[in-house]
Amino acid sequence: MLIVALIIVMIAFMIIGQPSKDRLYIENDIIRLQQNFISGGVQVIGTIVAIAILVLIVRQVNRVRS
């Protein structure tokens, strides 16, 4: 498993290349992603709802009933 993981990372590294300052992301992530329970809570609920909707759709397609 570890070997497979290493191969995946190596392939990604060969495709994308070493992180470079020419491709620097300008925005400040530390400020942008400051902890905020209201926006964060919306993100958490949004993720759970998205997963729930997708699970329902796939179950409908698969016709899996419990």
Partner: protein
């Protein structure tokens, strides 16, 4: 198994909400995800070995699809972790390695996270009956214990 899967699910949800955790905790929980992820793989090891051996002889399309989906999920998780480490702004710096917030690695990190949500949802849906049976067994076990005491 149920507890590990529940922890794994919780981690995935929290990791998809960096505003809830903040960047530092996001990076830390990303590293911590390796533990339930590895345990989940180890607990499913028999299935992995069996499915890999019988992948080409397997005629059931659903089982083949499930194998493909799980492989995709593994690939995405590895890419997510690797790209996260590449653009890390706290954890890797603590070790003394300078990182560059490269937009290409960052894009990979974001796209892999969307892919993970998609594949995790399909993974849950495909294993729905098993998850429900785990819950039922868990509840039945607790009820038995309650009757004994």
């Amino acid at each position: 198994m149920l507890i590990v899967d529940a922890v794994l699910f919780l981690f995935i949800v929290l990791l998809n909400a960096p505003l809830f955790t903040g960047l530092q905790l996001h990076e830390l929980s990303g590293i911590c995800l390796v533990i339930p992820f590895s345990v989940h793989l180890l607990l499913s090891w028999k299935w992995i070995v069996h499915s890999t051996k019988h992948l080409f002889s397997q005629k059931d399309l659903k089982k083949r699809m499930n194998y493909l989906l799980n492989s995709m999920l593994f690939l995405l998780c590895i890419l997510e972790l690797a790209s996260g480490l590449m653009i890390s702004q706290f954890l890797v710096l603590y070790i003394g390695i300078n990182t560059i917030n490269d937009w290409k690695w960052r894009a990979l990190h974001n796209q892999a996270s969307v892919g993970i949500i998609l594949t995790v949802s399909i993974h849950i849906a495909m294993n729905w009956l098993r998850i429900v049976s785990y819950f039922k067994k868990g509840i039945a076990g607790k009820q038995k214990k309650a009757v004994i005491f």
